[in-house]
Each structure stands twice: as structure tokens, then as C-alpha cells.
């Protein structure tokens, strides 16, 4: 379990890094926390010819409160997000989910940008950023562009990133007043990837009617599965048990695509998604009413 030979660069400026990516294209991989890439290299599943280590580039690790949300730098370690009062205040869904991501060793090294760029459909951050309608700044030598989370995750380990681009930061909008959130997942062991999971955010109007809702599933499709129709079904409704059941039913029968593997069959994953979706909406509803 030793990696195949590769060239290693450790640029100290973003320009240098972008120039290396531009030069090597598909042969190059960006190394941030390395918590997915390095094991894959050790298994020789990934054999990049060139590794561009961005850890020596200054000022890429930050969590800054801004008008309407929070700006998170690519090299922000999960541990920083887990312990950040700014994250707790402005993006409590991300903050409270952090302890569910792997175990402390991984969270100490793993990064915000790395997890998003890797786009594992079982990882939490792609699902959370999709749920919160976050957007990402992608930078290359040719310039930069902002891409919304919903348009960023395209499939299994596949994103909108071009080979010469780096995801440099994300902007996570803050939830409006009378909002609630929940992340529910089932993990074999505390630190495992979820067998199934779902994140829910809800916003109520003053009379308690659901104004806005987003339900996004993890581990039951090849990317974060935004259940758009089920989310829309909740809008304009009082969140009665019947309304919650109807949205759950729609989401988990028509808007997810679970697969079989050694840990769970597609049927069991669908059953879990259903159970969790109902619990997530209920908990988000409680929070939106200020009950939790």
C-alpha cells in the first residue's frame, strides 16, 4: 500500500498553484487535507502524476461572518468549523453536523474545500451546502466564477470543477428568522459514512405556515439528492403529520436513487431515508418554532 511515483509541488502562492494546474491539467491533483486522496493513492486507485500541495498557501483557512451569511476558506479544517462560534451562529446546521464527520484525526486534517471538491455522495458537506444553498468560488489562471452547490455536484466524485480550477472558498447563506434545520443519518459506527441521511431546512411565516423548505439526501444517489418536488410540496402548508408524511413519501419514492452494497440493500436504504426524512422535517419544524 505505497503510492505509485508522482511529482510533488508545494507552491506558496495561489498563482503558482494555478499555474501548475494549468500546466499539468488532468495529470495533476490538488492535495489539501489528503484524507480521501492519500488513501486512494496508497491503494493505487488514484495515480496522479503530479500532486499540487496547497497547504503552504497562506490565508486560505478562515470562517468569516458577512452580510447574509458566512464565508469559509478552502483550507478550513473540519475541526475549525466544529469549534467556530461564527459557524455556530451563522451556519448551525454545518456546525452541529461537524462531529458526525469521521473521527477527530480526520477532522484535524480534512478541509472544507477538499471535501466539496472530492464530492463523495456519502459525505456530509456536499449535502449540507446544497441544503443551505451555498455557492463556491472557483478560481483558475483565466479568472474566477461562482457556482451554486446545486450546480456544482454532478455525480459520483464529479463536480463542475475544471482540471485547472481550485475551489477557493464558499459562501453559506444564513437562514432567515423562524427557520429550523436538521440532519438525520444512520451510521453503522459513529464515524462511518452514513447508510442513508437527509438534511432539512424549513422557514415558517408568522402564522406557522411553511414558507420555504429544502430536503437533501446523502448516500442514496450518486450526488446530494435535492428532493425539489417534495420540498415544494411543503411550501404554503401547515406542517401537519399528513403533510410531512406526504412530502416524505414523495421524496423517498421518487426523488432518491439508492443503490445496493455490502452494508445495505437499496430497499433498506429507502426505508431508512423515509424514516429519517420524517424525523428531519419534524425536528426542523420544532426548531423553526423555537422549541429546540
Amino acid at each position: 500500500m505505497k503510492p505509485a511515483p508522482f511529482a510533488y509541488y508545494a507552491p506558496t502562492t495561489l498563482d503558482e498553484a494555478l499555474s501548475l494546474l494549468s500546466e499539468h491539467g488532468y495529470d495533476a491533483k490538488v492535495l489539501a487535507g489528503g484524507q480521501s486522496l492519500v488513501p486512494m493513492m496508497n491503494f493505487r486507485i488514484a495515480q496522479p502524476a503530479v500532486l499540487v500541495d496547497i497547504n503552504n498557501i497562506p490565508d486560505l483557512a478562515y470562517i468569516n461572518a458577512e452580510e447574509g451569511g458566512v464565508r469559509v476558506g478552502a483550507l478550513t479544517r473540519h475541526h475549525q468549523s466544529e469549534t467556530s462560534p461564527v459557524m455556530a451562529r451563522h451556519a448551525p446546521l454545518i456546525y452541529s453536523t461537524m462531529p458526525k464527520i469521521a473521527y477527530p484525526q480526520v477532522r484535524t486534517r480534512g478541509t472544507f474545500g477538499g471535501s466539496l471538491s472530492h464530492a463523495d455522495p456519502s459525505a456530509e458537506l456536499p449535502t449540507l451546502t446544497t441544503t443551505l444553498d451555498a455557492k463556491f468560488r472557483l478560481v483558475s489562471q483565466c479568472g474566477e466564477r461562482w457556482v451554486s452547490a446545486r450546480e456544482f455536484f454532478l455525480g459520483l466524485y464529479t463536480t463542475a470543477l475544471e482540471p485547472d480550477e481550485i475551489l477557493i472558498e464558499g459562501f453559506v447563506p444564513e437562514l432567515p428568522p423562524r427557520s429550523g434545520w436538521s440532519l438525520q443519518e444512520v451510521n453503522r459506527r459513529k464515524h462511518d459514512f452514513a447508510l442513508a441521511g437527509v438534511a432539512a431546512v424549513l422557514t415558517l411565516d408568522e402564522s406557522g405556515i411553511c414558507q420555504d423548505a429544502r430536503l437533501v439526501f446523502l448516500s442514496v444517489g450518486d450526488h446530494p439528492m435535492y428532493a425539489e418536488r417534495a420540498s415544494n410540496l411543503l411550501k404554503g402548508q401547515a406542517l401537519t403529520p399528513e403533510a410531512i408524511r406526504a412530502a416524505t413519501e414523495l421524496a423517498t419514492t421518487e426523488e432518491i436513487d439508492p443503490g445496493d452494497d455490502i452494508h445495505a440493500t437499496a430497499d433498506f436504504r429507502r426505508h431508512l431515508a423515509k424514516t429519517l426524512c420524517q424525523r428531519a422535517i419534524e425536528q426542523a419544524h420544532q426548531r423553526a418554532q423555537g422549541k429546540q
Binding site: 505509485a4 459506527r189 445495505a264 431508512l272
Partner: protein, 781 residues
């Protein structure tokens, strides 16, 4: 002052070295000019090798050599059988087929070695592996143990008529007659699937050849350094005195590290001599999943005969045991299963038949538990089913059948894993059961707490069950105890060590005899240069077999000390006391001599050692039991389950263990904790998933779910001590105990928690998906 050291919670002598990273492991051995080996392993489970092309690998910069079976020539032959088949049982069939260093023509399991690359670094060696080209002819695969024994099955070994590796029947009483007189007959089928031991440290070997003195030194993660030394010397044509095998600190053995000889164990020392360079091979985790031996696969068809009040009249058990591609370890595991299918119960009639099947899977050898969890799973599941069918409380039906204290020694009339008669030496089984029921609050839970949980809609179940563990088998171990000139005590034994606390528990045994601090006893284990005789650490035998050898040697040294001191101090031996490293005349504290001075007097530079005496304060002793002692325990669990997700939470876990005299409760409890962790894995987390081509689908810790600290409950351990009459110390083994009852206990607890689903669990390991399917009577993966 209390001079007893045995039984005290002494903190471990070895921990400062281990915790500060000062302990030497095999991978810490780095020698000048050392080369690194990497193994080319077969991807196929069953295939003929058409051609091997290693030319590109040989040409790769940094590669020193590449060897195949052809290059190894006449030196490439199978390892010796580790355990010979039992000679004492009538009509036994045993077909011995053993692994080779490098496979020449036919692959029999994925992970077998076809070629070895030796390079300047492991990185380069692995680059070399990528350049080897093999042409295979894939063959139909034997993946399922039941299909393996069907007449039209493909053959793992073409020279045999079938995949039958062994067949053996053992009987006691007359089951058929018992059946005829029974009020109730219960039949069931149980399946137990494979797991792996997953020691924290993988295997590793470093071999160094000194051509000038024709001496070979091998550092090996083995549980059996002396047999490895003897076997290597024989294999390589060297004198045993010219081969030194060192098993240094080892990060967990659990059984698979006494599989002798692994292909790599035959290969790496040979390479070191051939290349005249030190060679290191360290197994990586992926290799460990394919190449280190595994265990647990069995299918049982069981029948039990009962009276209507729940008394067991007899058992008939027919099972198939998976041995994988080869059977170097003989029949230890299935014999152990046979010895445990009767549990701790008084069962007059017993018929057990097993067939061992070759399959295209990794070799099976004993792994912590070693056939015992299978036997306990079968009997304890049957007891639960009988309790339900006969309408008797599950604790009560067990109580009615446990062997009574006055029935010991309880002779079964069959043989055990060591081919010795299966005799339970001693015990007080019902007392252990009562202690556990009291500790877990069984009555109160059933009468008050559980109804309250159920009223709240929570599914919380309780499980309680007993188990036995046959331990401490022969043939023997030895120890040498020496009082050194410093007054410190040096002890050597041939038994290996992998973290069991030998440096402390053995030291306690010796220190108690010699009146010194536990920290003044320095133990050397697992180095053939320090002790010439021994078998190894396995079968929960270290404390029993090596422990009693320690005790015997220390007792002899004590006698030598007293005899010499009596002369020096001019006082009768009966009046002498050994304390604080001194020999004192009782009541005359000023009349004393230190062990240090006494050691010097015993080994004088001038004068004469008297005829009939030996120099020094030293003795060597051996202990070999006629048969092993049998320990007993009861585990109880209270757990909650979410019936929608099948996620569990263990609220209480109580263990009462009776393993005879306790040497050190701290170490004993650690053994139990580790065992329970493995047992929980075998119950709900750890399963090797093989597909129909015998390809392992979860060869990494991402997909093979080891139980971690986040899954472990707090374990409350209680002790009873029924001394074994078989040995001086009164000890029984405990190394495997924790793992044995857990899958059966887990099944019982889940059935109780999911009371409204009325489920019957007949397989292990489970997982949430499977449990969900069983609960809803669905067919699931």
C-alpha cells in the same frame, strides 16, 4: 504485611515502554543494507497459471531481484503440518494439504503469492509488482461450504476425490435412545460466517544472514518463536543453534499469528540467505485481509431432545467447517466447537459429526474463540428456543441443566482440541449465574423496568447466558528463573507475547515466591536465544501453562536461596523469611543477607561449589498438563434498539468470570474487555463479505467494521474463583473468554428487545439490514 502478589491489581511493567514508543516491534528493526520485499498476490481465487513474466519488474531501477516458484526450485515445497490429525478417534478422515512459499501452477485462494519482488525500498518493490504480467486460466470457484461438498463441485485440490478435508464423529451415551424417550424434539439450522482477527499490527518478518558465522536471525510477529526456529533450521539445513528467532513486542496475535508456516515465513529467511542481505517484509492491511488466516465459517444442523420440564436428554449436531484452501492447523477449530456444543450443561447423550470442507478462500486457523463461539452459539440459541417452546423461563431452563458443583471432575467421554479427554476439572456454575443475575438486576428489570420502557414505546431487551471455555492445553511450557548478581530476577520463557501483560503477571508469580518487587523481575519472552524450549501462546494457555512453569522454577530457586542462606546465616530454613530482596531470620532483623550478596556467594570466583550442587541461584522448570482446565462465565446485556433503523445502544454489560485463581484482575479485565469487543464485532459488525467468486468485497477498514471505542459499552466485571485442582497455581485460562458468548447473547437480547416482532435469530454476524429483514420475515442480503 501482606506478601501475596498473586491476585493484586498490579499496573503493568511493560506499559511505560509501550506508551512512550520505546518497545521494539518487528518494523522497528532496521539493519544496514536491508532490502524490502513485496508480494505479488493472485487476484483470482481459483485459477491455473498459464505464464509468468517478471522481466520488466527485474529491469526496473531499484529492483534487486524477483523470484517465482521456478526460481526457487527444489526449495519451494509446502510447510510442515502444524497439528497432526487425531490418532485416537475411530474412522477419522484427514487430508493434509499445506501452503507453499510461492505458487507454481494452481491458485487456490485470492492472495496466494506468485512472485516476490525485492528492492531497495518498499515503494520500488511495489512499483515492481505493477510490472509483473501473469496469464491466468480462471477455474470454477468453490465459494460456499455446503456446495463444496456436493458431488459435482469443482475441486480445490485436484488429487482428491472431493473437497472433504476431514470427517470425524464423536459420541457419548446413546442419542437415538434419548430421542425416543423425549417429550420434545427441537431441530434448527444455524450459520456462522467469517471474520478476521484484525490485529493492530499486521504480520512482519525481518531476516538477517551472517554468512561468516552461518547464523540466521529472524524477527517474526509469531506467537510461536521456538517452533518457528526449529522449523526454519530444518527447512534451511541449519543447526538449531545457528538460527535465532525473536518474537519481540507484537501488536496483537489473536491466533492467526501462530499459523505456521506462513508462505512469507518460509520465503523471507530464504531470500536473506540467497541474497546475503537483510530482507524486511511488512504485511500491509490489504494483504492482511487476504493472506492472514481467518475463522468462523460453519453451518450446523442441530437436534435436541428435552423432557417437558426442560431437562436436556441429548444433542445431535451435524456441522460443516470451512478450512479454506489448506488445512495446516489440523482439526483444532472443529474439535473445539465439538467440545463447546454441550456448553456448561449436564448432557448424557451426544452425537456430533463434522465434515471439514476445502474452499477457495483464505486459510482458516484458530482465531480468538477458536471454534468455541460456534458451539456456544448453537447450544445457547437452542436453549432459548427450547425455553420458548416449552414455556419455561430462559434463565430457569439453564439453571436446571447446569453441571452441579459436586459433579466435578465432569468427564465427557470425548476428546478435546489437544486430543486429551474432555474433562471439566472444577466449577461452581450456578453461583456464577446468580452473581450475574444479581449484578444486572435481572428480576427488577423484567418486572419493573422493561414494562415501563415498553409502555413508553421503547424496545429495551435483556439477555443472560452462560458459557464454558476449555483452556490451558499442553503440551508444555518452560521457564528459567535466575537471581542475578544485582539481586534482580531474570526470567526467560519460550512462550511468545502479544500484549497479554506477561511481563507483569509472570513477574507477580515469581516475585511472590522470591520476596522481591514485581518491578525487579525482568521477563524475556519469545527469543530462542534465551530459552530453547516451548510451543507458543495460544488456546488461552499462557497463565496456566507458562504461569505454572514460572511458579515451579521460582519455587525451586526459593529452595536454593533458603538452603544457602540457612548456611550463611546459621539459622534453620524454617526460620527464614524472604522479603524486600533480603533473606532474614524471623524476629532477628539484623541477621540478614541480600539476594544480591547471596547470588554472589552461589557463584564464587574462588573456592569450590560443593559436590551435588549447581552454581548460581537458578532453576529451570517445565509444566505440561494432562488435560486443560475449563473456565466458566456468564454475560448479561441490556440493550435498546430502534426498530426503524436497527441502530442499537447497549445500556448495561455485565460479566462474571470464573477462571480459577486470578493472577492480576487488572489484566484479566483487560482481556475480557478486548474479548467482548471482538464478540460484539462477531455479533453485529464484523463480517468478511465474499462474492460467488470468493472475492473479498470489504478488504479495508472502511468496509470491514471493527468495533471501536464509540461502540463499546462500559463493561462491569465480577469475579468468582474456583481454583483448578489441575495445577499448583489453580489457574484457568481467560484469553478468549470475552469473545465466546457475545453473538448468542446479542441474539437473545435482540429477540427480547424486539418482543413484538416474535423473531428467531439463527445466524451471526447480523447487521441492521439483515436484522430488519428477519424482523419483517423478508429475504434480504
Amino acid at each position: 504485611m501482606d506478601k501475596r502478589l498473586i491476585g493484586k491489581r498490579v499496573v503493568r511493567n511493560e506499559d511505560p515502554r509501550l506508551l512512550t514508543g520505546q518497545a521494539q516491534y518487528v518494523d522497528d528493526v532496521n539493519l544496514p543494507n536491508m532490502a524490502h520485499a513485496a508480494m505479488f498476490r493472485s487476484e483470482y481465487a481459483h485459477a491455473r497459471i498459464r505464464s509468468i513474466d517478471v522481466s520488466k519488474a527485474r529491469a526496473y531501477p531499484g529492483v534487486i531481484a524477483v523470484y517465482t516458484a521456478e526460481d526457487m526450485g527444489a526449495d519451494c515445497y509446502p510447510g510442515p503440518p502444524l497439528v497432526s490429525p487425531p490418532p485416537t478417534v475411530k474412522d477419522v478422515i484427514f487430508n493434509s494439504r499445506r501452503q507453499v512459499p510461492l505458487v507454481k501452477d494452481k491458485i487456490r485462494h485470492a492472495g496466494e503469492i506468485i512472485a516476490v519482488v525485492i528492492a531497495e525500498t518498499r515503494y520500488i518493490a511495489e512499483d515492481g509488482l505493477d510490472l509483473i504480467e501473469i496469464e491466468y486460466e480462471p477455474l470454477p470457484v468453490v465459494a460456499d461450504i455446503e456446495k463444496a461438498l456436493e458431488p459435482d463441485s469443482p475441486l480445490v485440490h485436484d488429487d482428491l476425490d472431493s473437497n472433504l478435508a476431514a470427517h470425524l464423529v464423536q459420541k457419548k451415551g446413546d442419542y437415538e435412545a434419548a430421542r425416543a424417550s423425549a417429550d420434545a424434539i427441537i431441530q434448527r439450522r444455524f450459520t456462522i460466517e467469517r471474520g478476521t482477527a484484525a490485529a493492530m499490527e499486521n504480520r512482519g518478518i525481518v531476516a538477517q544472514w551472517d554468512a561468516k558465522s552461518e547464523a540466521l536471525t529472524v524477527w517474526d510477529t509469531t506467537q510461536a518463536p521456538i517452533p518457528i526456529r526449529n522449523g526454519l533450521a530444518a527447512r534451511l539445513g541449519l543447526s538449531e543453534s545457528k538460527v535465532r528467532v525473536i518474537a519481540p513486542f507484537i501488536g496483537g496475535g489473536f491466533g492467526p499469528k501462530i499459523m505456521m508456516f506462513y508462505s512469507e515465513e518460509m520465503l523471507v529467511p530464504w531470500l536473506a540467505i540467497k541474497l546475503n542481505r537483510p530482507v524486511k517484509w511488512i504485511e500491509d492491511r490489504r494483504e492482511n485481509f487476504y493472506a492472514t488466516t481467518q475463522e468462523r465459517g460453519q453451518v450446523h444442523e442441530v437436534e435436541m431432545a428435552f423432557t417437558r420440564d426442560g431437562k436436556i436428554l441429548g444433542i445431535k449436531d451435524d456441522f460443516i467447517h470451512d478450512t479454506g484452501a489448506y488445512d495446516p492447523y489440523g482439526l483444532t477449530t472443529p474439535l473445539n466447537t465439538q467440545s463447546h456444543v454441550m456448553g456448561g450443561y449436564d448432557i448424557p447423550n451426544f452425537t456430533s459429526e463434522f465434515r471439514v470442507a476445502f474452499t477457495n478462500k483464505t486459510i482458516v486457523t484458530p482465531m480468538r474463540g477458536a471454534g468455541r463461539p460456534h458451539g456456544i452459539y448453537v447450544i445457547e440459541r437452542m436453549m432459548d428456543i427450547a425455553a420458548k417452546e416449552l414455556g419455561i423461563d430462559r434463565v430457569e431452563i439453564r439453571r436446571r441443566n447446569l453441571i452441579k458443583p459436586d459433579a466435578f471432575p465432569y468427564e465427557h467421554g470425548i476428546i478435546d482440541q489437544a486430543f486429551a479427554p474432555l474433562i471439566f476439572d472444577s466449577g461452581n456454575y450456578e453461583a456464577v449465574l446468580n452473581e450475574t443475575l444479581k449484578a444486572v438486576g435481572y428480576e427488577k428489570f423484567i418486572k419493573e423496568e422493561q414494562p415501563r420502557y415498553r409502555a413508553e414505546g421503547r424496545r429495551v431487551g435483556i439477555g443472560v447466558l452462560p458459557f464454558i471455555e476449555t483452556t490451558g492445553v499442553g503440551p508444555y511450557e518452560g521457564a528459567r528463573v535466575t537471581v542475578e548478581a544485582s539481586g534482580k530476577i531474570a526470567v526467560a520463557t519460550g512462550v511468545g507475547t502479544q500484549g497479554q501483560g506477561h511481563f507483569t503477571s509472570f513477574a507477580q508469580v515469581v516475585a511472590e515466591q522470591l520476596g522481591v518487587d514485581v518491578t525487579d523481575v525482568r521477563i524475556t519472552t519469545g527469543d530462542s536465544a534465551h530459552f530453547n524450549w516451548g510451543t507458543g501462546t495460544f488456546a488461552s494457555r499462557g497463565a496456566v501453562v507458562a504461569g505454572n512453569a514460572m511458579h515451579a522454577a521460582a519455587t525451586m530457586v526459593r529452595k536454593k536461596i533458603l538452603k544457602l542462606a540457612s548456611k550463611v546465616l546459621n539459622a534453620p530454613e524454617e526460620e527464614l523469611e524472604l522479603e524486600d530482596g533480603m533473606v532474614r531470620v524471623a524476629d532477628i532483623p539484623q541477621s540478614s543477607i541480600s539476594l544480591s550478596d547471596l547470588a554472589a556467594l552461589a557463584n564464587p570466583l574462588r573456592g569450590a561449589v560443593e559436590p551435588g550442587t549447581e552454581p548460581g541461584l537458578e532453576a529451570t522448570a517445565y509444566y505440561g498438563p494432562q488435560y486443560g482446565p475449563t473456565a466458566f462465565g456468564v454475560h448479561a446485556m441490556i440493550a435498546e434498539i430502534d426498530a426503524e433503523t436497527m441502530m442499537i445502544k447497549i445500556l448495561r454489560y455485565v460479566v462474571t468470570e470464573d477462571c480459577g485463581t486470578i493472577l492480576n484482575p487488572l489484566i484479566l479485565e483487560g482481556q475480557i474487555h478486548g474479548g467482548v469487543a471482538l464478540g460484539l464485532g462477531n455479533a453485529y459488525y464484523e463480517k468478511l463479505h465474499f462474492d460467488e467468486n470468493a472475492q473479498l468485497l470489504n478488504a479495508s477498514f472502511m468496509d470491514y467494521l471493527l468495533v471501536g471505542s464509540t461502540e463499546m459499552p462500559r463493561i462491569e466485571v465480577h469475579h468468582l474463583e474456583t481454583r483448578s485442582p489441575l495445577n499448583e497455581l489453580g489457574t484457568k485460562g481467560v484469553g478468549e473468554a470475552g469473545a465466546i458468548p457475545v453473538p448468542a447473547l446479542f441474539a437473545q437480547t435482540m429477540e427480547d428487545a424486539l418482543y413484538d416482532y416474535n423473531l428467531e435469530i439463527r445466524e451471526t454476524p447480523l447487521n441492521p439490514n439483515r436484522l430488519f429483514g428477519i424482523a419483517r420475515k423478508e429475504k434480504t442480503a
